[in-house]
Point group: C2
Chain length 199, copies 2
């Protein structure tokens, strides 16, 4: 029972990967890249520390360009992040029969509502699994605190592998200050390894 | 990490209970009764076969009476089942700091939308966990088929412990044929035990 799990190296996608293994799945971690930066390396490093298989999935540069257009049109990144995530899920769905991500019950973006989730499953004939969907923030905090060594840093640009890094980079290339689009985030967290590996 | 899990003895609530144990929780199964029938015994029997602790939670007869009124008013049981489930969650939330149920992503009733789920957590200061929420029907089928020995019978009244049994009974007591309210279900499934206990 193999599942391809969209992985950023963060707490949520790491916790989801652990849950999948606990349910008996063989988990392959997949980090999206548009080939602009090698920011996927941070996710790969975390994946290796946690003992998961990892691969990079390259998406078309056009997707990122379109997402940058959306950011500029909207003045905030929500529609762009949602757009990239949907394309990422579709690309993973082409190579797998079970796909997964770390989206949460309380997330607004990226998030697939029920019709979108079912449409993804039907169009690509896959099972779409979201291990964190039924968990609230307390449960997620309780589990991540038990499982992972986490580093919290006050920094604008931590070593991250999410869509935002390349999107910010492309905006900068177009002469746009990403701080006019993305809310300023003061604290970033990073998974350093297992605290208590419960396998 | 103790969690009180609303349990009917069916496939969904059994699978949820298993997932909770896989996440490291100490699971207490709770079956609701209104004291009209001893239909909770079927859930207790399944809980024992699966090796879980089990207890009965008695809810006020008034709740069932009000639910029967709703059935008669509406001509179908959806609002009544939703009403009972919300009251059941609230009662469990009074005795626990983590509560859970087996509701699914694709369920319409009973189901707590996000504002209702958050309201439950806030009003009772609990974590509300729904292990099946992020899983589609394929994933649920794949896991239940791997884990459980399931009996499928062609029968109107199987040994069940869900809210419906006592609700139908009360309707009959009021001289109303439950078949005018509840859709006829031809096949019922029952969890008989572990096929492959993956603990």
């Amino acid at each position: 029972m193999q599942v391809y799990h969209l992985y950023s190296g963060g707490k949520d996608s790491s916790l989801s990967a652990w849950i999948l293994t606990r349910l008996g799945y063989e988990v392959k971690l997949v980090t999206v890249s548009f080939g602009l930066l090698d920011s996927w390396k941070h996710a790969k490093e975390t994946a290796e520390r946690l003992g998961f298989e990892h691969q990079v999935l390259y998406l078309s540069r056009e997707i990122l360009e379109k997402a940058a257009d959306m950011c500029i049109e909207d003045g905030h990144p929500n529609r762009a992040i949602q757009f990239i995530h949907e394309r990422a899920l579709e690309e993973v769905a082409k190579i797998a029969s079970r796909i997964s991500d770390g989206t949460r019950r309380d997330d607004r973006v990226p998030f697939l509502d029920l019709p979108k989730a079912r449409s993804l499953e039907d169009r690509f004939n896959v099972a779409y699994i979201r291990p964190l969907l039924g968990l609230g923030y307390r449960t997620i905090r309780e589990l991540t605190e038990r499982l992972f060594i986490i580093e919290i840093r006050e920094s604008e640009e931590l070593e991250k592998s999410d869509y935002e890094v390349e999107l910010r980079h492309l905006l900068r290339e177009r002469g746009i200050d990403p701080l006019t689009i993305f809310p300023r985030s003061h604290y970033q967290s990073r998974v350093l390894g297992w605290k208590e590996k419960v396998f």
